[in-house]
Amino acid sequence: MPVSLALHPEFTRFDPLVALNWIRGEADWLAIRFVQENTHRRTARNGRPEQNSVGIERGVMIEALVDGHIAYAATSNLSRAGLQQAAHRAALNARSAAHLKLFDSSPEQHPPALGSYRIASEISLDSVGLAEFTDRLIEATRRLKVSDKIVTAMAEATFVETWMSYVSSNGSDVTQHALMTGQHFGAIAQDGSETQHRSLNGPTARCGQGGLEAFDWSGLMSECERVGNEALALLRAENCPDGIMDLILAPDQMLLQIHESIGHPLELDRILGDERNYAGWSFIRPDDFGRLQYGSPLMNVSFDPTRAGEFASYAFDDGGATARREWLIKDGMLLRGLGGLESQARLGLPGVANFRSASWNRAPIDRMGNINLEPGAAGLDAMIGSVQRGIYMEANRSWSIDDYRNKFQFGCEYARLIEDGRLTRVLKNPNYRGVTVPFWHSLAAVGNAETFRVFGTPYCGKGEPNQMIRVGHASPACLFRSVQVFGGEA
């Protein structure tokens, strides 16, 4: 009998509402967040299987409010004794640290939430055979290897199943379940001293909620051949020229541009200084909201946890706040930051439902969710046609920005020169650099819905202790005027 991709290990059932009764009385207010997350990795390289693994994270975080301060205790021992010990530790720590609390916490910052969230998937893990799926991955690596100069052909699939329950002593009872997938198809080409990487949209961009319908194999196989051929073309290509030029970024690079130069600086916990010792502060000040013209009037950016299929959609954040779509930047004007109810109370500013944790063993903090640049009116051909000499770049490969989110430098896998309104030669090692606000003011055209693509990344890191979290970014192609671009060199 064929074995499917689905995994059903034996666990003892955990009921968070029953568990809440075990620990009532430990603190002025209590919450339990249970998380189970199964992460499947299936990969192939150069015609052979590489990795077959499933990691299962399963445990609870207990939040205890005492004397206006919340402390957290995480445990994977889900017995009555295990939870009682964790609740006791959390309450004790809250009591010990309350005299040094940074701000007053209250149950009002954690209002009762009731509801559930479950995403629909057309093709479940149960309905696809492991052998068949593995064969497809291996075949994809063969399609990528269009020449002996392709030294590495990689096909990687990730499936994540999450179950989250959140209950609190003031009446919250939330359950959320999602299936997500990620995929990476990439080739490394080598000839003499030259090496070039090319992949489908970059190494981590292709991710989202939903089932195995994301693996449209007939389309993917021909895309793999294209990627292999483009890797070869990069071997023969000239370096991206140095200079100030017009720049068109494809959506698979826009995702990174949005992430680093809009998402992170707008996080309210960064603005409050919580991240100063690690990820950094922000150039945004609290009084910039409603006043700072962040960029060109063509710029409209939303926080949208309601977009079906995007990687970070949900109905409630990990503090129980109801998730809604909100404008962050409208017509280029900065309107709202990315902060949950705690940060909103600390700053006296509106925010969004983005109080999120990476897993059961980390406390929630302000994170990005889905941060999207809304489509404009320009067609891609018209944007290219408006450029006399410039560069078109695709697929992120390098990212770096300062700790206040001003000076950035990003690199892409693949570029084409634009001459007299036409795409011409392939260029290798394309990079560009700039400063956030002037860069967004140079936004001259925003692509229409036809150019709009939905991507994301599983690897947004911040927080102490550190947390890696999933975010979604959707964007059209965009044209920026007079940007410093450059290539590689010895």
Partner: protein, 450 residues
């Protein structure tokens, strides 16, 4: 010791139950990564969040008929429950291997002996920690993370191998902030870490940081992009060296076309004869055994006087490319790097720099041209403009874009006589083990671009 003892007892019980369930031709390796940590996050000299974490991650590597499946799950600590979970996963693994193609590069588990190493520590309770932190940092805007508690790594396999490593340690990774004469936020980074929390040691760390903070109160200097003479303090050198573990010195990365040091490995380029780098487990910050149970050499020269001596080779890579492995982990990164010291006296650093930039820390490094080992990143924290051997002013942070072949090669002028041990502060998913031993270094010319 009760956490380590109880967790290890449970691990042994579970291992035996799993091994007893194996049929002829089946092999199994169990890995354990466990910690009981107190994490306290500070901001504005107050407590932002404190999180106690008790976790034990069990990994089952099942091998049979030339196939391997790996399952990892969070242990409940209850023998019966975890055995039921583990045995259900092993049943599934037996089904899976029948449906996968053979993996020609698998290494069968072997009995590579037994070992057990424990580093005892003395760590503060929360109330004492908070009292000392508030007392000694009262004059500054303090922010940071304390992490402390026992960590445990263990491995057993069905062939009889058993290795255990445990340690009780802490770090306080912190920043002190001020506003300088130009009205700009400026900060200094400090790291106090070890196995024995000593009030005097913490006090000294803060005192050293406060001295630099005083210098940061001066007006800032804005420097134009261009080439500058620079001194990198150990934390900045550690950031640069971390890139050698991002594909750089792994044999597999080189063969797969993913190494930034291809030209160095193939003898087309060289680094400075002053630069030597080795893997050195003497500091005892991390176990020598890897997740396959193989023991790495206590010391392994990686780069000697600018020339590659050994790349890190995992057993899987060794099997694939027909070479000998050297106990590297599958990612083939440095686990306990040590850079050789040089001849530069600490007292002579500023005089030797003369006129240039003193860089305490770097931020957010990444490749800008992998095959040419070109990197970009930012200056961060206490970075100063120095004239004629005297600190003049803090700088406004600069972006750089430069090749490792110049930084550790043609432009490397001298290396300090002393090195710092910098404990690993990574806490993604779990607190990492390990650390780096790094000196400071003087570089003749370094390129800033923005």
């Amino acid at each position: 010791m009760s956490f380590q003892r109880n967790t290890l007892r449970h691990f042994d019980t579970l291992s035996v139950a799993c091994f007893e369930s194996l049929a002829e031709g089946e092999q199994l390796t169990l890995n354990l990564a466990a910690e009981e940590q107190m994490y306290v996050r500070f901001n504005n000299s107050g407590v932002r969040q404190s999180t106690d974490v008790k976790q034990a991650r069990l990994s089952l590597r099942f091998q049979s008929v030339g196939r391997r499946i790996v399952y990892t799950f969070d242990s409940t600590g209850e023998d019966r429950q975890d055995a039921a979970t583990a045995l259900s996963l092993l049943t599934r693994a037996r089904d899976e291997v029948k449906h996968l193609p053979e993996d020609p590069f698998l290494i069968p588990p072997e009995n590579q002996g037994h070992s057990q190493l424990h580093h005892a520590g003395r760590l503060p309770q929360l109330e004492a920690l908070l009292g000392q932190v508030t007392k000694h940092t009262a004059s500054a805007d303090f922010t940071g993370l304390y992490a402390g508690g026992p960590q445990l790594r263990a491995i057993r396999n069905s062939e009889g191998l058993r290795h255990v490593f445990s340690t009780e340690s802490f770090f306080l990774d912190y920043s002190l902030f001020t506003v300088n004469g130009s009205g700009e936020n400026k900060a200094v980074k400090g790291l106090y870490a070890g196995t024995e929390w000593e009030v005097a040691g913490f006090e000294q760390s803060v005192r050293d940081s406060l001295k630099q903070l005083d210098l940061l109160k001066r007006d800032s200097r804005e420097l134009s992009p261009g080439h500058y003479r620079v001194f990198f303090a150990p934390a900045a050198v550690e950031a640069l060296l971390s890139l050698f573990s991002w594909g750089g010195v792994g044999y597999g990365a080189w063969k797969k076309g993913d190494s930034a040091l291809k030209h160095l490995i193939e003898g087309e380029r060289q680094l400075s004869p002053l630069f030597s780098l080795e893997e050195n487990f003497n500091a005892g910050l991390t176990p020598r055994f890897n997740s396959q149970g193989e023991i790495a050499p206590e010391r392994l020269s990686v780069i000697e006087h600018g020339v590659v001596r050994n790349l890190l080779i995992s057993s899987r890579t060794a099997r694939e490319y027909g070479v000998s492995g050297n106990g590297a982990e599958s990612g083939e990164g440095l686990r306990s790097p040590e850079m050789a010291t040089g001849e530069l006296d600490d007292a002579a650093i500023l005089a030797s720099l003369g006129t240039g930039i003193y860089i305490s820390n770097l931020h957010y490094l990444n490749w800008s041209d992998l095959v040419n080992a070109r990197i970009t990143g930012m200056t961060r924290y206490a970075c100063f403009w120095v004239e004629n051997g005297e600190i003049v002013s803090p700088i406004r942070d600069l972006r750089f874009d430069e090749s490792l072949y110049r930084v550790f090669g043609s432009e490397l002028e001298s290396i300090t006589k002393t090195a710092s041990v910098l404990m690993e502060t990574d806490t993604y998913s779990q607190r990492a083990l390990g650390g780096s031993t790094v000196p400071g270094m003087l570089v003749r010319e370094f390129r800033f671009t923005l």
